[in-house]
Amino acid sequence: MQRYSVQLILIALGGLITYLAYEEAIDLYIISVLMFMGVNIIMSTSLNLVNGNMGEFSCGHAGFMCVGAYVSSVLGVLLFSKNKILAAPLLNPEMAVYFFPFIIIAGGLAAALTGLLVAIPSYRTRGDYLAIITIAANYIIISAIENMNIIGGSRGFMGMKRVVNSMEDVLYLPWMVIWVFVFTIGTVWLLRRYTSSTFGKGVNAICQDEVAAEIMSVNTNKMKTITFMLSSGLAGVAGGLFAYIIGYVNPGSFNILKSTEAMVMVYLGGMGSLSGAVIAAVLFTLLTEGLRFADVLLHYLWFVPDSWHYSQVWKWVIIPLILIILMQFRPEGIMGNRELSDLFPGLKRFYKFK
């Protein structure tokens, strides 16, 4: 029982959400919040690999998300939907059901290759300078996409809803919910496997002391390349899912603010703690949606004019403020460097997650 409890719970949870979405028993809004939660979990856990486990400071994570989002949405729209670039779809739209995960993974692979933009300079630089490189990479990616007029430039790119619709035409299921769930679980599982493997122990070694790790026969350059590529690839997967959930991408939505969101989640959860990153992503999504809710509540007050939207404007004052306060008073975040099973050793009897 202890062996399979996590799998059973996950299957039950996934089945339940899918069933509820299928029956339309829960609100569409709640479903989209749940999906964003999944995307945020992928973002925070993948950034946690670099910022937490490897101890580097990457603050351009949204750039890789942008690459993933654009590659998978352009690929999907070209292959399975009528579009402005090639007019007719390249493949039968009914095939979208089978190819959808591969499109998302292709976006992830493209993002992983872009990760080299950061990985190669990281051989020689670290700390503040690497932070600048990641921010520069973020700006370069956004700026490059803004200059590609064939995919819409700064106006953005759309048409992903048609791909999702053609998937639902073949077999009516809440496909996006299913795939977001699968990819989220897959990401967390993959990262867990990676950091607890013999090879992946080197990631934590680099965090402790890079020179010592190298002396202890950790090939730091190889390690950094693989870790950066894995992290940015997973960010690309998150971007692809994000694009298909919203149905519209534009480069402006992947700027430094989006990267900051990911950073807030990592530092809120605790550096190097996978379960902390997951918990923080869930909390953060609830917080941002809670702000939206607070906005609605405020408008019930008679003196608040309809045109004022506090939360959306103040959101970006409140989120940085949370992080500043966190840095001042609890820099280790919610979980610190520990996992859930370290914090509550009793839980170990009930589950095993490897």
Binding site: T125, Y139, T260, Y267, W314, I324, P331
Partner: protein, 304 residues
């Protein structure tokens, strides 16, 4: 390219370079003293422009003074108020962390977040509408041999050079400057010599912020439209300039600013202007990959 257009481009490059250089001086000084990348500095520039806007509008409309008098009053007001903002960020956010001996990473994150708070707090308080800066002095266009320049452009360039020489004098000739150099040389020995380290850091922030404020004022006079995010990109570019010159070195920051200005103007001369940011950031990436310490920086060896 004809000689006239070449000189024209050089003047434009000098003007943009002056803005970058003025902001980059602030970045590089704080880095030299604190080994902290003050990511909020670009937004200090924005605050400077906004303070100048409010001061100038107040003086012109309420007090009814002529333009030149308003300018003469606006310059000190802007510099003082903006340096107050810079120093209070240091007091509220950076100093407690420094006292606790927190990891440098936490200070950098705090700086980044302070910048975001300044930008978005401004957006939340003043709204997204752009503000038009009032014209303080009448702009004359001089044309000599096909090269046209305004008195404002010349003022910008001259101000940048004056600021640089003042700063250079402070750092090399005064006691405060000597203390600054001492702190960047050895942070642990300096307090033992009876140098009040916190006061020196405050002076550094005052100097950096007031140069950024001056840049903000001049920028608002040259391009009289203000918006909350104006400091973000120009701040990043100035930071690139500081890194290109070798962060921590005043000469480097100044020359880096003009170099970046020249690169950008040349890019605009040959490519569509939307490629400007792309190429500026690519220059940064390439320089950091091959010479991480910049043009004037000295590589530090890591001791095991």
């Amino acid at each position: 390219m004809s000689t006239a257009s070449l000189i024209q481009n050089i003047i434009n490059a000098l003007q943009w370079g002056s803005f970058y250089a003025l902001i980059a001086l602030g970045y590089t000084m704080v880095y030299g003293v604190l080994v902290l990348i003050n990511f909020a500095h670009g937004d200090i520039f924005m605050i400077g422009a906004y303070v100048a806007f409010f001061a100038a509008t107040f003086i012109l409309s309420t007090l009814g003074l002529p333009g030149w008098a308003a300018l003469a009053l606006t310059i000190p007001i802007t510099m003082i108020v903006t340096s107050l903002v810079g120093v209070s960020i240091e007091r509220i956010a950076y100093r407690p962390l420094r006292r606790k001996g927190a990891h440098r990473l936490y200070v950098v994150i705090t700086a980044l977040m302070c910048g975001l708070i300044l930008e978005n707090g401004n957006l939340a308080l003043l709204g997204a509408s752009r503000k038009a800066f009032p014209s303080l002095i009448s702009e004359h266009v001089y044309t000599i041999g096909g090269v046209s320049f305004t008195n404002l452009k010349i003022a910008v360039i001259v101000t940048a050079f004056i600021c640089f020489f003042i700063l250079h004098w402070i750092v090399t000739k005064t006691k405060v400057g000597m203390a600054m150099r001492a702190i960047s040389y050895d942070k642990f020995a300096v307090p033992l010599m009876g140098i009040p380290i916190d006061n020196i850091i405050v002076v550094t922030f005052v100097l950096g912020s007031s140069f950024a404020a001056l840049a903000g004022l001049l920028f608002a006079m040259s391009y009289p439209i203000l918006e909350p995010y104006m400091g973000a990109l120009i701040g990043w570019k100035a930071f690139i300039a500081a890194v290109v010159g070798g962060i921590g070195d005043i000469r480097g920051a100044f020359i880096g600013g003009f170099l970046l200005g020249a690169v950008e103007i040349m890019v605009v001369a040959f490519f569509p202007s939307t490629y400007r940011d792309l190429i500026a950031f690519t220059v940064l990436l390439v320089i950091l990959s091959f010479k991480p310490t910049g043009l004037f920086g000295i590589a530090k060896t890591t001791k095991i």
